[in-house]
C-alpha cells in the first residue's frame, strides 16, 4: 500500500513540473529569432500572404491565447500538423519513435551482452592483467565521442567491407535490424563501458564484505557464492544504471542517428530546429520530457523491486 501511495504521489508531483516544462518550451521557442511565417512563405512574399500565414499558424493571437492553445494540445496530445512535413505531429512522432525505440532496445541488449560478463570477470580478476585490460578498454570508450566511434564503424564495416547498408532503413524487419546493428553497437560501446566499470567496482566491493567470507567458511562452493551472493548484489546498481542510460538513449540518440542517417526522433528534431518548425519542436521536447519523467519513476520502482532493502517513500 505504501508503494501505491508513493507512486501516486510521484505521478501527482509530475503535474507542476510538466506545467513549468510547457511554459519553458513555449516561451523558449518564441525567443528564437526569425518569423516562422516569413520563413515558410519566403522573403519575397507580399504582406497579405505573410499575414495570412501568420493567421493560419495562430501567430496573430495574443501570446496568452497561443499558450493556452499549446497547453490544450499538450493535454490532448493533439499537436496539429507539422509546418514543414505536412503531417500530424503525433503521427510523425509515433513513426519515428519506432526507429529510436528499436535503436535504444538493441543498444541496451548489446550493452548487457558486453558489459555483464566482462565487468563481472574484471571485478573477480581486478588484481590481474586481464582485469586491468578490461578496465582500460572501458576508459577509452568513455572518453571518445560517440560520433567518432560511429564514423569509424561506418567506414570499416559499411563503406569498406559492405557488410551493412549505408543510411538505408529498409522496408522489412530483417532490413531494419541489419541497419540498426552498427548504430546500436556504437551506443553500446559507451554504455557498456560505464556499466562494466560499475559492475567491476561493485564486485570488488562485495568481495570484501564479511558475508562473503562467512559463506566461504560455511563451505559453500565458489560457484554458489558467485552466483547467489555476488551477482545479485552487483546487478541491482547495474540495472539502475542501464535504465538511466536507456532514458539517455531514447532522448539523446541525435548524434548516432545523424552519423548513420537513421530516420529517428533525434534526426526529426534536429531538422525541425534547423527549419524552425515550431509545432514539431515544441511537441517533441514536451514528449521527451514526459518520457524522461516516466522513465525516472520506473527506474526508482524497479530499484525497490530488485532490492528489498530499499523502501519507496
Amino acid at each position: 500500500m505504501d508503494e501505491f501511495t508513493y507512486i501516486l504521489k510521484r505521478i501527482l508531483q509530475m503535474i507542476p513540473v510538466l506545467l513549468i516544462v510547457t511554459l519553458a518550451i513555449f516561451f523558449g521557442m518564441r525567443m528564437i529569432p526569425g518569423d516562422p511565417a516569413l520563413l515558410l512563405v519566403g522573403n519575397r512574399a507580399s504582406d497579405e500572404t505573410i499575414a495570412a500565414m501568420r493567421a493560419k499558424l495562430g501567430l496573430d493571437q495574443p501570446l496568452i491565447t497561443q499558450y493556452l492553445l499549446f497547453l490544450r494540445s499538450c493535454l490532448t496530445f493533439d499537436f496539429g500538423n507539422s509546418l514543414t512535413l505536412k503531417a500530424p505531429v503525433t503521427e510523425l512522432f509515433r513513426q519515428k519513435a519506432v526507429v529510436t525505440v528499436s535503436l535504444t532496445l538493441m543498444t541496451i541488449l548489446f550493452a548487457v551482452l558486453i558489459s555483464v560478463p566482462l565487468g563481472y570477470y574484471a571485478g573477480l580478476h581486478h588484481d590481474q592483467p586481464a582485469g586491468a585490460v578490461i578496465n582500460s578498454i572501458s576508459l577509452v570508450f568513455v572518453s571518445v565521442p560517440e560520433f567518432l566511434i560511429g564514423l569509424l564503424l561506418l567506414l570499416v564495416f559499411a563503406l569498406k567491407l559492405h557488410w551493412f547498408p549505408v543510411g538505408d532503413w529498409g522496408h522489412t524487419l530483417p532490413e531494419h535490424i541489419r541497419s540498426l546493428i552498427l548504430p546500436s553497437l556504437t551506443g553500446a560501446l559507451m554504455t557498456s563501458s560505464l556499466v562494466m566499470r560499475n559492475i567491476s567496482d561493485n564486485v570488488v566491493k562485495v568481495l570484501s564484505y564479511d558475508y562473503v567470507d562467512f559463506a566461504r567458511s560455511k563451505g559453500l562452493s565458489e560457484k554458489r557464492i558467485r552466483n547467489s551472493y555476488i551477482l545479485r548484489n552487483v546487478m541491482i546498481p547495474a540495472v539502475t544504471l542501464l535504465a538511466m542510460r536507456m532514458t539517455y538513449m531514447l532522448a539523446g540518440s541525435i548524434v548516432i542517428e545523424s552519423v548513420f542517417a537513421l530516420p529517428g526522433i533525434g534526426q526529426m528534431m534536429l531538422n525541425a530546429i534547423l527549419s524552425r518548425d515550431y509545432s514539431l519542436v515544441q511537441a517533441t521536447v514536451y514528449l521527451f520530457a514526459i518520457i524522461v519523467l516516466v522513465m525516472n519513476l520506473l527506474t526508482d520502482i524497479s530499484y525497490s523491486l530488485l532490492d528489498p532493502r530499499v523502501k519507496l517513500k
Binding site: 513540473v17 513549468i20 528564437i32 571518445v144 565521442p145 560520433f147 534547423l274 524522461v292
Partner: protein, 271 residues
C-alpha cells in the same frame, strides 16, 4: 609530492599528451607554418606528404594546421564550460544542503524541471533558441552543467552539517557564509574535483558533438568536431581529413580521463 614515484606510466603518458596539446593551444605557430583558414585551390584533397604532413582538405586548407589551431578552442570549451557550472552548482548545493527546508525545496524543484529535459535535448534546444556559435555553446552548457554539481554537493552537505565541528563553529558565532565556505566546503570538495576533471572531458566532447551536428562552432573556425563534420563527406577518398582530428580528440579525451582516474584514486585513499 612524496608520492610522485607511485604514479603509473599511463599517468605520465597522459600528462605528456596533455602538455603537448596545451603547448599547441598556447603557441600553435610553433607547430606549423600554415594558416588554418587560408584556402589553396591548387592543392585540394592532397594526401599527407612532406609539404602537408596531414594532407589538405576539400578547400585546400592544411589539415595539420587546422588540427593544431583547434587545440585552443577545444581545451577552452572543455575547461571554461566546466568552470562556471562547477562554481555555481557547488554554491547552489551548499545553500540547498545547509539551509534545508524551503530553500532546499525550491532548489530541488528547479532541479527537477531541468532534469525533465534530457541533457542533449536541453543543450540543443538552448542553442536553437540562441543561435549557433561559440558563445551560445558556452551558455547552453553553463545552463545545463550545474545540475550534477548541485546534486553531488547537496547530498554531502546534508551528512556533513551534522558533524560536531559545524555545531562548534556555530556556537562560536561564525556566520553561515563562513561556516559554509570555510568549514563545510573543504570537506565536500574532493568528489567535486574528481567530477570536474571528467566534466572537462565531457564538455569537450559535447562541444565537438554539437559542432559535428552543425550547431556549434561556425565554419571556418578550426575545431576538431567541426573538421570531422566537414570531412565526413570525403571519408572514402580523403581519410586524412577526419583521421587526424579524430586521433587528437580521442587522445586528449583519454588523457584527461587517465589523469582524472589517478586523481580520484589519490583523493579517495586520503579519506
Amino acid at each position: 609530492m612524496k608520492n610522485m614515484k607511485k604514479l603509473s606510466p599511463a599517468f605520465w603518458a597522459a600528462a605528456a599528451v596533455l602538455s603537448v596539446v596545451l603547448l599547441m593551444a598556447l603557441f600553435p605557430g610553433l607547430f606549423t607554418r600554415y594558416d588554418p583558414i587560408e584556402q589553396d585551390i591548387l592543392s585540394l584533397l592532397k594526401p599527407p606528404s612532406a609539404d602537408h604532413i596531414f594532407g589538405t582538405d576539400n578547400l585546400g586548407r592544411d589539415v595539420a594546421s587546422r588540427v593544431i589551431y583547434s587545440a585552443r578552442l577545444d581545451l577552452a570549451i572543455g575547461f571554461l564550460a566546466m568552470l562556471i557550472p562547477a562554481v555555481t552548482g557547488t554554491l547552489v548545493g551548499l545553500l540547498s544542503g545547509y539551509y534545508g527546508g524551503r530553500v532546499d525545496a525550491v532548489i530541488m524543484r528547479i532541479l527537477d524541471i531541468f532534469t525533465a529535459f534530457p541533457t542533449m535535448v536541453l543543450v540543443i534546444g538552448i542553442v536553437a533558441i540562441l543561435g549557433s556559435g561559440v558563445k551560445n555553446l558556452f551558455i547552453a552548457i553553463w545552463l545545463v552543467g550545474w545540475r550534477e554539481y548541485a546534486r553531488l554537493v547537496r547530498s554531502d552537505v546534508l551528512v556533513e552539517k551534522n558533524n560536531e565541528y559545524v555545531a562548534a563553529a556555530r556556537s562560536l558565532g561564525y556566520s553561515d557564509l563562513r561556516i559554509m565556505l570555510r568549514h563545510i566546503l573543504p570537506n565536500v570538495i574532493s568528489p567535486v574535483i574528481v567530477y570536474a576533471v571528467s566534466d572537462i572531458m565531457m564538455c569537450m566532447l559535447m562541444g565537438a558533438s554539437l559542432s559535428f551536428l552543425g550547431l556549434g562552432v561556425p565554419t571556418p573556425t578550426p575545431e576538431w568536431g567541426a573538421i570531422i563534420s566537414d570531412g565526413k563527406n570525403y571519408m572514402m577518398t580523403a581519410w586524412w581529413i577526419i583521421t587526424f582530428p579524430g586521433i587528437m580528440l580521442a587522445l586528449t579525451g583519454i588523457s584527461i580521463s587517465i589523469v582524472g582516474n589517478e586523481l580520484s584514486k589519490r583523493l579517495s585513499r586520503r579519506h
